[in-house]
Symmetry: C2
Subunit: 266 residues, 2 copies
């Protein structure tokens, strides 16, 4: 019995999320279809994270078991070829591809063995919106107070009961205590001019690493940081919001298109 | 009677091209629908360039005439709001927006008055394909000979009969003589490492400016330059290909997703 671990990159724009669904195009569904064809046996894969519709990944992981004769790296090449629509179309590229593939011990499981993950959330804080970035960032045209957002982010780091950042509708977790080992906001200024709103156009990249995340947790953390940036929530209230364990007191849920599963740690 | 000139930006990925069609979503169709609503009268616009399905624009131009009371800049704001789906959806952005708008003299026409245009064509010449760039560039994984491509490009500059670069199927032009005033290939190297194919990953940007372009001319020029880059066509054959006036002797037609209408000159 072989056990294989893949690293997967996808543009979530045209997918109804990761998880297999009978009637919808999902990342898991597309991968299982193509891998079953390549391995000539029915393949079921276990992904590390069940990303929502519109959410992207640079480094999703998934593992699968079975018996087949095709060498491991050939699986990657053949599957990517099918995912790109075969040879048809000049320079055609799929919206999901396998970037790495390796054999792992029989008892390895992509989700249960994960020790932690890094997510990235991209905010385009520019005076003018960009049509080309509409599926790839959260576009906010008013100036965000980055210093206040960074103070707020610092208060979210560490081990806390993060119930306030858990969306309803997800699976109820036995414990809502998680550890955020790193939460930082990087700033890339675009150009040198000050825009008519009085600030420099920029991309803000929120990088968050933790041992696990509750349903919609990164998007609610981001929405809360944005609400701090616009002044709707004071950064001083963050400890109180966390202690309150009440979703209603945290900020809004940022939209899916700015979110990227960046890396999984084993 | 007012006459208004717009600059328009769009992501062509989800459009069946520029030109209005009864059953398909086109850029012209979407703009006319929204402008008619904003101006409370039926609007018909004249675009400078009838871009194909999948082709993008940073600076398409279009003009329209009529009578209405709404101030010109309010038209832009109201139309962009509707194009972005109104207020619904956090940070929502449309795939087409009006970036500039101005009143012009009554006899001005966006297409007939255009003196020239610049198109950009993006080639992603990297060892690994990128799912996020699949709708925005032509992805070529084998190394292209940039020096040969630049020699070929230089031979295409100037005033020539460009019949060899005209696709069949377009409107027959009375004359196929055009002037390319500038054709250059810019190189942006990504990172510092040499990839396993023995070259550095890079983006090649073809910039071409001319007084007018035949049907699919920029895509055929690009395909011919790529064929020079892969060695299929010698750069020394370019003058002969142009003089032959035979589409069959030129290179392939590069796919639409790498092409951007960048600027129109009046």
């Amino acid at each position: 019995m072989k056990n294989i671990l893949m690293t997967i990159e996808y543009d979530g724009s045209s997918f109804s999320g990761w998880q297999r669904q009978p009637e919808a195009r999902t990342v898991q569904g597309e991968l299982e279809k193509v891998l079953s064809q390549v391995c000539s046996t029915e393949i079921r894969i276990n992904g590390t994270s069940r990303t929502d519709a519109g959410v992207h990944a640079y480094g999703q992981r998934a593992s699968f078991k079975g018996e087949w004769s095709i060498p491991t790296d050939r699986i990657r090449i053949a599957a990517n070829n099918l995912l790109a629509g075969g040879q048809s179309g000049l320079g055609s590229v799929g919206d999901v591809q396998i970037t790495e593939i390796e054999d792992v011990p029989a008892d390895f499981h992509a989700r249960f063995n994960a020790l932690g993950k890094t997510y990235i959330y991209k905010i385009r804080n520019c005076w003018e919106k960009d049509v080309f970035d509409r599926n790839y960032s959260y576009q906010i045209t008013r100036k965000l107070d980055l210093a206040a957002m960074r103070l707020a982010a610092r208060q979210m780091e560490g081990t806390h009961d993060f119930k306030c950042f858990q969306a309803s509708g997800g699976k109820e977790m036995e414990s809502t205590v998680r550890t955020i080992s790193n939460l930082q906001i990087l700033e890339d200024v675009l150009g040198e001019e000050v825009n008519p709103e009085g600030y420099q156009d920029r991309i803000l990249t929120i990088e968050v690493t933790g041992d696990g995340f509750l349903y919609n947790m990164v998007r609610i953390i981001t929405g809360t940081l944005v609400d701090v940036g616009t002044g709707r929530i004071s950064h001083k209230k963050i400890p109180e919001i966390i202690q309150g364990k009440d979703r209603q007191r945290a900020g809004h849920t940022a939209p899916p298109q700015g979110l990227y599963l960046a890396e999984v740690y084993y």
